[in-house]
């Protein structure tokens, strides 16, 4: 899976979490806090973590190949 797809997935997850957070701030009720902490924040954090992970695991196509990797490929 390329980084483009990963970024888009992360975008949707973050957006879903933020939507829940937005909705949880409209009513003044204890359950709204539970929705914020229990659903909105975790979904958003998974999206953020997915984005960070996709950045860290991404190898640029023009990046130099290390001798060890080259030896493994041959």
């Amino acid at each position: 899976m390329n980084i483009e797809t990963k970024l888009r997935r992360a975008g949707f997850m973050v957006a879903a979490g933020l939507l829940l957070q937005f909705l949880s701030l409209l009513p003044l009720h204890p359950l709204a806090f539970i929705a914020f902490v229990g659903f909105g924040v975790p979904i958003m954090l998974i999206g953020v973590a997915y984005y960070v992970f996709s950045l860290l695991s991404h190898t640029h196509p023009d990046a130099p190949v290390s001798p060890a990797t080259r030896a493994g490929q041959s």
Partner: protein
Amino acid sequence: MPISITLALIAVSLILALFVGLREGLSRTREGKMLAFVALFILPVVSVWGGFEQHLDRATSTQFCLSCHVMEDFGKSLHYDDKSYIPAAHFQNNRVPREHACYTCHTDYAMFGGIKAKFNGMHHIYVQYFGDVPKPADIKLYKPFPNETCLHCHLGSRKFEEVNGHHKTADMLEKVKASKLSCTSSGCHDTIHAVGDLKDAKFWTEPKETEAK
């Protein structure tokens, strides 16, 4: 931070995150990568911080506490037309901020008072939806009402220090200050919410803000 700003911040973050999700080829340009970083990392983190602050602040409001059905009677008890009811006298005479009346008296003024109150609140939500909800008259405090909560405001005030009732014995005030004599359960200020009295009670009507002005 006002709620309108928090909502606007989350809305902007949401729109940008959706934009990143819907837009193809965003990561091919430098600007696109920077936008993705702002939309998927910086703004969400700031939004969560704002949302948390907002929720924690709202959880201290009287309206929030009374939003649970079982607390309605306690809310009504703030309107007893009788100054012998301690919460009503405090609420009606602005000795506690009306918007934060419950929280002002029911959180311990110690380092982790607010945090403990939040955990107790989570337990209340659990009981409300998964446990046996007690009748309002059967609801009791977890532990005796601490003198520190009263002293937080009253300590040092002239009326508190000089009123005859606090000098019935020579060491009475010292015992109160040292929490050796309870303010509420020693027979002095023991008429609290008393929700059992609601059906026969006379109520004070809170004037509307416009009328007060």
